[in-house]
Structures are given as C-alpha cells and as structure tokens.
Symmetry: C2
Subunit: 325 residues, 2 copies
DNA sequence: TTGAAAGCGCTACCAA
DNA sequence: TTGGTAGCGCTTTCAA
C-alpha cells in the first residue's frame, strides 16, 4: 500500500490534521512544525490520495474532454492544447471519443460528468436542448460550438470567410462553389451563413453543393459535381473534404490551381503536406483547447470571466489557389 | 448533491448493505428484495460513486494511456482503439501526451499511475531501465515497444519488411535506400534489424541514410541525399517521413514512381489520400490499442494470459512504387 | 497553533 | 438472506 497521511503524522510526531494543514494551508501552522512535516512527507514520497480528498472536497482535480472523432486531424491538436493547459493547472484529463454518434454522446457525457469537476466539449454533435440540460448539471465549456448561456470558445468565422473570398476575388474568381458539410453541424451552418453574407457583399455568384460527410470520402464523392458546376473555384467545408476534391481532381487529370482553385477550412497539418499544398482558413486548435480549459477553470473557481471567446482566424495562402482561367 | 446509497436504502426500506449486494452481487439477495432495490435505484438515477468505491476496493475503474505525440497521425487510431475497448469494459481513460519528451514522460507516468488501475504505454520513449522500474509499481502494458518481462503488443515487423522488400525486388529494384528514424527509438532499431536481415537474404544492396526526426520535415530534409544516393527505391522509417520525401521530390520535379519508388511504414490515414498514394506496410493501430487494453485487464484480473502479442502486418500496395527504371 | 473526532460514499466483514 | 458497523484516506469542524 502507498504511504498515507497517517504514516506521515506518526513519523513527524503530529496529528493527521496538522499534516493536512502543513500541506494545504501552510500559513496556519507554526514554521518549525510545518517544515518538519513537509520534510517527512517528501522523504516518504507522500502524495495525498486524490479520490479520498475528492470525497470530502467535492473536487476531483479531473476534467473531461469529449471529441467526436480523434481520427479527424482537426481534433488531436485541440486535445493537445487541453492536455497541456490542464497539466499546468495540475488537472488530469479524461478523454472520450464518440465516433460521431450524437446518441452515444449524451450517454458518454453523463458518464464522464460524474467523475470530473467539469467538461470541455469539442464540437459536440448532440441536440442543443440536450446540451443545455447537461450544462445545468455540470460545469462545461463548448469548443467550436455556440449556444446561448453556455461558455464557449470559437473562431471568427465571418472574418475568415471574408479573407478567403477576398483572396479568390482578387484572383479573378466570380463564380464559386461551396461544398457543404453535415446539415446538422453547427460549424457548417456558421460557414454557410458567413459565406452568403460575404459573397453577396462581393457580388460573387455562389453555387452550393449538397451535404457531404466531413471526411476525405465526402470530397471525393462530390468532386465530379463540382466540375460539372462550371465554377473556377471551390471552397470546401473543411480540409479533409478539400483533400478529397484534390484527390479526385488529380485522378481525372484536372489541374489545380490551373483549371480550378481549391480552398479549405481548418488548416490541419496535412494541408501543408500535400501537392499542391492547400490554401485554407486556419482555425486555432491548440489555442482553442487551452482557452477552453482556462474558461472552465474560471468557471469552477467562480471567477466569472468572459463567458464567450472568439479567436482570430488566418487565411493560409498556398499552392491550391491561383488566377481564374 | 447526487443521490447516494443511503437514499436508495431508505426508499427501498432496506439497509445500505443490501443495496450494495443487490447491485454488485445480485445472486445473494432474495429476488423480490433485489428487484425492489434495483427499481428504486434506477428510478432515483443512482450510480455508485466511483471514488468512494475505489477507496475500499482499491480499484478505480480507470486506466491511463500515454502517447508521445497525438499530432502524429499514427497515434489517434490507437487511442480510439483503447477508448473503445475500455468503454466496453466500463473503464474510463486518462490520456497524457508527452510531446516526445522522454524526461517529462517518467513524471507523467508516475502521476497517472496513482489514479488508475493500470497503464497502457504507447511507444514510450523513456529508458528501458526506468520503464522496468515503473512496471514494478503499477500494472502496465507496452504497445509498440518490447522489453523482457513486461507485457506488450507489437507487430510482426520482420514479416512486414519481408513483404515490402519482396515487392520492391519483384519490381526490379536492387539498390534501395532506408531513411532511418531516431536512433533511440525501439521501432527504428527493429526496422533496421529486419531490413538488414531480409536485404541480405534477397541480395539487395542497402544504403542507410542518417537518422531523421520521425516527421514530415525529416523526410523533406533528407530527400536530396536520397536522390544523390543513386537508388531506384527508398523505404522510409514511417509514412510521415515518406510524405516528406514525396513532397520534396515533387518540388524538384522527380517523378514518383517513374524516377524513384517510395515505400512507407504504418499506413496512417494520410497515406491513401496523397497523390500518388503511398505504398506502405500497415501496422494495426486500433486493433493494437484494443489488444493493449485486453492484456491489461487480464493482468488486473490475474488471468495471466499471453504476456506478449504480435499482430500481423500487411503491405498496402499503392501508387508510389513501380518498376525500377 | 494543535489535536480529536466526525464523516464524505461506499464495501466487506461478522452476526443474526 | 439481511443488518450493523468498521474503516478506506482524507479534510474540516470544534475544542483545547
């Protein structure tokens, strides 16, 4: 068995209460006692049992993190950000992957909820109503989703979309396709909304193409329809879809960017690795994860700071966009 | 406060002891009592507090998972496998990312160790001796690393390498480069060893090129040296390095596979998305994660099954390899 | 400034 | 088959 508070108390010749104080509220213990206790504790390698402590304080020192699909390259960086920030705050992270299943999500969330002080939900798929219900039961922060009354971290989509469209317009594009993601996705709705707004302002003709799964295959499957739409540029729901487009275009001998320009969203690591490299709107990932944890910790400590953060976006111009032919 | 065992006991008109039994060892409780208790419990939404239970049983129901770098696309699938299997066994997963830092690793492992029943260490970077020390303190399983006396899950590297080399030989390649990964990496040592063995058997001339960081940039940085080595094919330490090679080759106008064939290792999702798609030796990822959890659970339940599992590998032939010119 | 003791929610033992 | 109760390791009163 590991060393307990009693072992320390005995060796230091004090009561267990004094040991607790020496470690948690040092200022109320006489310096000489405090030092003796601390030395014994560290010489024995004592660390308080978190479960036992949690039983009393109601705080576990753990946070729960939920992602829809870790295999989607957008998420690992967010997870890393959460991890890093949580570690600094001496919190451990429970991870759950829902496999893009909105139904499984609710169950997992509640399961997690009971073992943690709070939750960071990354781009959750579940219904707004259900989400709101959970938010009443356990402190939580949304990342890349926004719901009235629930703290969230998102990015400035409108600005990102404006950067993207201005770039294409500057290259002479006037008729542009948008490949939409899942209709149920909050992120997709945001993107569509932003895009319509800026397209109208810029006088660009927009061709919206059906909902696809937000993955490589989604892009592959819609590529031929994009070509048939007679546009000179296409904006994809996300980078994965954009990569699917590139893949199918290459297979059909369509040159990018000479025949058609392709623009993605997210800036996943892959975007810079392919040929031609993908022009894309970079959304903060690690930073979003960190901000999520920060918000959550504030919440837990009742420091009610900004309940909603919007991080900046940045267009990354690479090889997949060029002049309209 | 959440509903406790006492609430259930009171409402069901039994003692707390009976409630525990009705839920954990139903067979020792009279059916009528059992049913009454269970109905009350579920109507109240009662779930035992895991921390409190752990205090007594010594089991937390949590397992710790450690990966060197979640941003490396090889790991997310493993994590998903661990997750899925752990969930089935009603265990939660603590995740830690060490950012490829062998020193941070040891600290994180020990920190995790105190909150879990056992650990799954994924391709850990730390020294063998240290690893062995930790293994004595807490049940653990290694994934993609092997150390005498510690349970592990790996893949049949030798067989995979043989498939890869036979493929290249069949295409007429006789002089082949290998781009090595980090010298300190167990996986790299295994691959070098396998490759030398099969190369000798096949009468293939091997050109070994320096150690690179196991990432995209590593491949980019060594690409020119590969070209200077006058080989007709190159095997990279992993897919990320192979992608770096492809990228630089494309930039220099070197055609793949016409001028040179490129072969990777791992079969990360990206491998199939690039153009030309990457021929690679597929290592089980999700499956390895699942097997890791299985081994760990066996260990925890003292069912001492196979202490070492080697999963099969499979060469995925794609566009990046072709006939020697 | 310190110690004694109650009790967090649960399981395991012993007795009935 | 059931109930009473000790006690897991810790923090937090309350008293001294």
């Amino acid at each position: 068995m590991a060393v307990t508070i009693r072992d320390v108390a005995r060796m230091a010749g004090v009561s267990v209460a004094t040991v607790t104080r020496a470690l948690s509220t040092p200022e109320v213990v006489r310096p000489t006692t405090r030092e003796r206790v601390r030395e014994v504790a560290s010489s024995l390698g004592y660390h308080p049992n978190r479960a036992a402590r949690g039983l009393i304080t109601g705080r576990t020192g753990n946070i729960g993190l939920l992602v829809p699909d870790l295999a989607n390259p957008f998420f690992p960086s967010i997870v890393k950000g959460v991890q890093a920030r949580a570690l600094e705050a001496d919190h451990a992270v429970f991870l759950a992957d829902t496999d893009e299943d909105p139904d499984a999500e609710a169950g997992l969330v509640r399961k997690l909820a009971k073992q943690v002080d709070g939750l960071v939900l990354c781009s959750p798929r579940m219904a707004e109503q259900e989400l709101r219900a959970v938010a009443r039961e356990v402190p939580m922060v949304l990342v890349y989703r926004r719901i009235a009354g629930v703290p969230s971290v998102t990015a400035e989509f409108l600005d990102g979309m404006r950067q993207a469209l201005s770039h294409l317009v500057a290259l002479g594009h006037r008729r542009i396709a948008y490949v939409a993601g899942p209709r149920s996705s909050w992120a997709n709705r945001e993107r569509v909304r932003s895009l319509r707004t800026v397209a109208k302002q810029a006088g660009v003709e927009l061709v919206e193409l059906g909902s696809v799964t937000p993955q490589f295959q989604g892009g592959v499957s819609v590529a031929d329809r994009v070509l048939a739409a007679a546009v000179t540029a296409v904006i994809a729901y996300n980078d994965l879809v954009a990569l699917g487009l590139l893949h199918r275009f290459a297979a059909r001998g369509v040159a990018v960017p000479d025949d058609i320009s392709v623009l993605g969203f997210d800036d996943i690591p892959l975007a810079a690795m392919v040929h031609p490299a993908l022009t894309t709107v970079a959304l903060p990932q690690g930073q979003a994860g960190q901000a999520g944890v920060d918000l959550l910790l504030d919440l837990l400590n009742k420091r009610d700071r900004a309940v909603r953060r919007e991080l900046p976006t940045q267009l990354m111009v690479r090889g997949s966009t060029g002049s309209a032919r």
